[in-house]
């Protein structure tokens, strides 16, 4: 049976990268993977609705961190999607039989071991299958504190869930992983890209502009959609911000941990200092979620509180912009 060293991480995608690469002797921490993959982001998409509630994201789209890290570190991956569950399961069986742990995209709704409260139809969860025993698959799910198992039927359902983003049985595994990597270039590229995404996308929904965009809309929620929907909209902003393992700060703490680690590694005091500033912004995000949670709970027709929440977001946008402007000037 394949041995797989499982470490619990905060988030699934960066966690799978860290766990999987370690299996091949390439040590990379979760924050380092997140930073090199330029995972930090902000986007508010009022027209992309899930159950009638507008979408908000605090990180880059699923899969992007993975492909960027592979490209920057020179890791070669095999990745497949499938038309039929039978083929997908057969391909999985063949690869794990060779002792290769396989990453895959899944829907949390069909993962029986997953914390029950989170089991909505969310299709972009990553996990690793590293073996098979008595017909059940051995699973290393990065958000769980220990390894677990899943039966054939549920794994099929999870791999072939419908809806965006549709997994279509997607599975991936490395075919060549370098043992030693100079992190300087990848760190530089990751930071440059993150700064671009946070500061320069010429559309109002993305980056720090997106935070201001959301701020304006939050202020208008009660007047525009009524109290009940306003509460639901707000609830969704909090849930996305606290997408498992962000510490309530929408990945800001994880990125700050990356800046600190990068600063130590490259002996760059400026990066460390910016990491501290971003930690402070993360705390502002937490305060926002805390206040928003209060408003949700009160279900009050209190326009003031929505106005206040909007102002908190504007303040966050200003502070976050300062951090990324400073970061964009660092020489690495």
């Amino acid at each position: 049976m394949t041995q797989f060293s499982h470490t619990q991480t905060a988030h699934c995608e960066s966690g799978v990268i860290s766990n999987m690469f370690r299996h091949y002797g390439l040590e990379i921490s979760e924050p380092m993977a997140f930073g090199i993959g330029a995972g930090i982001f902000f986007g508010h998409l009022p027209f992309v609705k899930v159950n009638g509630v507008p979408g908000t994201t605090y990180r880059i789209w699923p899969g992007a961190i993975f492909s960027r890290v592979c490209k920057r570190l020179g890791v070669k991956m095999e990745s497949h999607k499938f038309g039929s569950p039978d083929k997908a399961m057969q391909a999985l069986d063949e690869v794990i039989a060779k002792g290769i742990p396989v990453g895959m995209q899944s829907s949390v709704y069909y993962l029986p071991y997953f914390p029950a409260s989170y089991r909505f139809h969310f299709n972009a969860h990553n996990l690793v299958v590293y073996g098979k025993e008595n017909g059940d698959y051995l699973v290393s799910d990065p958000i769980m504190d220990t390894v677990t198992t899943i039966d054939h039927e549920n794994l099929v359902q999870a791999r072939f869930a419908k809806g965006f983003p549709e997994p279509k049985g997607k599975m991936y595994y490395p075919v060549s992983v370098p043992k030693q990597v100079d992190f300087r270039g990848p760190i530089r590229a990751g930071i440059k890209q993150a700064c671009y995404y946070m500061l320069k996308i010429p559309m109002p929904m993305f980056g720090v502009k997106g935070i201001r965009f959301l701020a304006k809309r939050v202020k208008d929620y009660p007047a525009k959609v009524g109290d009940r929907r306003a509460g639901l909209y707000l609830g969704n902003i909090i849930r996305m911000q606290e997408e498992i393992g962000t510490g309530g700060a929408g990945f800001r703490f994880m990125y700050a941990a990356f800046l600190q680690e990068a600063g130590l590694l490259l002996k760059n005091e400026e990066l460390k200092a910016i990491g501290k500033e971003l930690t402070a912004v993360g705390d502002l995000w937490r305060n926002f979620a805390f206040s928003a949670g209060r408003v949700c709970k009160a279900r009050a027709a209190d326009n003031m509180s929505y106005g206040d929440l909007g102002n908190m977001l504007l303040h966050i946008a200003d502070e976050e912009e300062k951090v990324f402007r400073r970061l964009s000037k660092v020489k690495i």
Partner: protein, 140 residues
């Protein structure tokens, strides 16, 4: 967030079975990890999301009992699906599924179609055929 500020608002949401990992700073300002059993705003938001599901399920049940929609509509809500999702799972267009939600059309659905829906909803075809409405339970 300092390590000793990492929230531990369990609220019994995960029944003590799940802890998530957070990044937080120690006293010297360096990052480290800590586990958390939960955080109040997230508990509020999750609870709200589940309440919304319960509300929709109850509303749809009332409509089925009043004879205005078919059990397909009820089980769609019970399985947390919406129309586009259900349609793609059933391999049908949205308007077709919508039609199946009319009680008159539902009565004449083929056994294969009933079986396909039942499979999506994780219930027996007989239950769906008879229009029995199994209760909704929040996952525990």
């Amino acid at each position: 967030m300092k390590k000793d500020e990492v929230p531990q608002d369990g609220d019994n949401l995960h029944h003590g079975t799940f802890k998530q990992l957070f990044y937080a700073v120690d006293n010297s300002g360096d990052y480290t990890t800590a586990s958390s059993v939960g955080w109040e705003p997230e508990n509020v938001a999750l609870d709200q999301a589940w309440e919304e599901v319960e509300k929709r399920v109850a509303e749809t049940r009332a409509k089925v009992e009043a004879g205005t929609v078919s059990p397909i509509a009820y089980y769609m809500e019970r399985t947390l699906l919406d129309l586009p999702l259900l349609a793609s799972k059933a391999g049908k267009w949205g308007w077709q599924v919508k039609r199946h939600m009319q009680p008159g059309v539902f009565k004449n659905l083929s056994t294969t179609m009933i079986a396909r829906y039942a499979d999506i909803f994780g219930i027996s075809p007989e239950t769906l055929q008879k229009g029995e409405l199994l209760p909704f339970q929040r996952p525990q």
